[in-house]
């Protein structure tokens, strides 16, 4: 029993790190613009596909023999290039769907986000066709046994890489000048622009960072589950959105914790009950948490001042 428990703990950590990485993007955008970027789940999908393209290209380069590259270097390069490219997708989404709507009712921006998401899915389908692509295997899978628990090197890598990126984000937000500007903007987006901080730049940067993190999640997902399809972002997007809210809107810490928590809930529900009941029980738990803690873990209490 203990072994099964630990085994599922490892799985939950892996699953939760996908949710947490995506939820961070939601939460950061929310803290600046008070809007949710509903295209974020699809940016995760685009990230995975760009990662697929970059990795395939790099492998082809290495095979041609022009440059000698070991597989781990390819993975690192894929990660960096994909983050860079995907951040432009995020900035584009901000420019098209969110900047013109900054003063509009919030729900309108939610609709543009949803629609951009559909365009990304369909565009992908139109470009690459309906057949699913398979992420190239960059890591040879090893399984280690630690006290009755089977752990693959992929799982360890995924958990550590995502935690590393979360820590990097934390350092960036708390220590750097740009991070300080972000935090200031989150406190008051009316006064801070008067102090010479451009809200457009900050919003663009927030979208870029969020998208880069989603791209990381996309590549890690591709490493763990190599089959990609254009609609894979929908489910992840909505679940990460749930995590972002559960953590308290706009709270980076909350989003991370709630992402992992959602992963734990889903995996452990599937462990105890038949797996078809997973969504039913997981969302009932979410519902209960929100009934007793209506503003999430780290969110501000509901106040009379509302932007709608």
């Amino acid at each position: 029993m203990g072994g099964v428990l630990l085994q599922n703990l490892v799985n939950a950590l892996q699953w939760g790190s996908f949710y947490a990485l995506i939820a961070l993007g939601y939460s950061m955008v929310y803290s600046i613009l008070m809007l949710f970027n509903f295209a974020h789940g699809d940016i995760f999908m685009v990230g995975a596909y760009i990662g697929f393209g970059v990795a395939t290209g790099l492998i082809a380069l290495a095979k041609m023999g022009t440059i000698m590259m070991p597989n781990w270097l390819i993975l690192v390069l894929t990660l960096i290039i994909t983050m860079f490219l995907t951040s432009f997708v995020g900035m584009l989404v901000e420019r098209i769907g969110y900047r013109p709507l900054r003063d509009a009712p919030r729900a309108s921006a939610a609709i543009t986000g949803l629609m951009i998401g559909i365009i990304l899915e369909t565009g992908n389908l139109a470009l690459l066709g309906a057949q699913r692509v398979s992420f190239p295997p960059l890591i040879v899978s090893h399984t280690y046994e630690l006290g009755g628990v089977f752990v693959t090197n992929k799982k360890i890598m995924i958990v550590f890489v995502s935690i590393a990126f979360m820590l990097a984000l934390h350092v960036f937000v708390t220590r750097s000048k740009w991070g300080m500007a972000m935090r200031a903007m989150a406190v008051d987006y009316v006064v801070v622009p008067l102090m010479g901080v451009s809200i457009n730049n900050i919003a663009r940067m927030t979208f870029a960072i969020g998208s880069a993190l989603a791209a990381v999640a996309g590549i890690l997902f591709g490493v763990a589950y190599p089959v990609l399809d254009p609609y894979m972002g929908i489910m992840f997007g909505w679940k990460a959105f749930v995590a972002a809210i559960l953590g308290g809107r706009g709270s980076i810490m909350g989003a991370t914790l709630a992402g992992f928590l959602l992963g734990f809930i889903e995996i452990f529900v599937a462990m105890i009950f038949p797996s078809t009941l997973r969504d039913l029980i997981a969302y009932s738990i979410v519902l209960l948490i929100l009934v007793f803690r209506p503003h999430g873990f780290f969110g501000e209490p509901y106040s009379a001042r509302l932007r709608l």
Partner: protein, 429 residues
Amino acid sequence: MNATDYSTVQLKKGFKGYFKAVFGSVPLLAWILGMLVSVILESHVGYDLAESIGLPKAPVLFGFLIMLKKPALIPSTLLYVLLIYALPIGIVARLSAAPANRLAAVLTRLPMGLAVPLYLALLYAVLAIWADISAYRLLTLKLTLIAVMVTLSLNMINGYMGEFSCSHPGFMALGAYAASAFTLTLFTNDHLFGKALLSSHLGPWLFPVGLIGGGLVAAVGALVVAIPSFKTRGDYLAIISLAFMFIVKSLIENLEVVGGPRGMSSQPNYAGLLTVFVWTALCVWTINNFVRSIPGKALNAVRDDEMAAESMTVNTRRTKMTAFMFSAFWAGIAGGLFAHVIRFVNPATFGIQKLAEVLAMVYFGGLNSVYGSIVGAVSLNMLSEMLRPLEIFKWIIIPLLLILVMIYRPTGLVAFKEFDVKRLIQPKK
């Protein structure tokens, strides 16, 4: 005003001014008469005309399908649309304007309970004759009417009350399953529910009972969202309603009694055009009356400032509860009709896809407006059928259109406009 002034006014107003000068005095009654003539014309000479100008068959949805499939046929399709729809409607409406105005004046003096059903009967005649041409038209029309109901009911929450509810596919699912279980148990020999309990002759007469039952089930389900809404709103309520939708979907998937993930099929064919039309009219009528009543205005008060509303003696809890339950009731009815039009339901129908569809219709048409919901549901539904030949590019064009609407009219096309039937049917000077 002398002649030169008049011509400058005309020039300034352009097409719109010209249209107004010619058709400004045409009342609604004359338009409906024009449409009636046009659809009767189509049902009599449509086939022959289409054949003689080289079309394979009468264009189903105003020629869009043919034009997108075979660009060579564009001129003859346009000719068909001009001859069958544009010219007859325009000419009949313009010519009958004067007598129609007199008739409309008589009708407005009648009690509303008499005049409006008369208009609706005429409108139904137009739709029925139009849809008689092909089964595809009929199906599209029925689904469009159902979409109007769902959009209206969601607009009540998202537009009038200013929440962001994501639970409507869940309400629809509840209604669809309850109504289907009702009809399948009572009137058909079904593999899930066994032999028919009542004679199938009673079916069409008891069908409304099943629909209302479905609506009530959905309304009770709405309590799950309505009660948390006392304490929270905005994004957190959005998540609660989203979780509700997932829970309903997952619950149905796990209930083998109602077919689990495979769903239920071969519902009896009770939802004819008349049934769907009558229910849609009822839905528009009750929701329009509700939002214009005092308890309905309380929805706007809750949206704009909950604290102020509370201190002005608006019972916010009761308002929220009423709005959610009433809205869910109509979503449930729409779901029940949907199940009997398609004659198949499964849980996958009521997922994120449906949610995005309904939300798009509400925000495209316009918030806080019955007009808007009708415009949004009809235009998006028709558009998505008309652009079908483009295949997946349809899902690039429609979202782009929505984004443009959101950027240039953030609250939708016809937002914040009252739907006043009395003004609609009155004669024009």
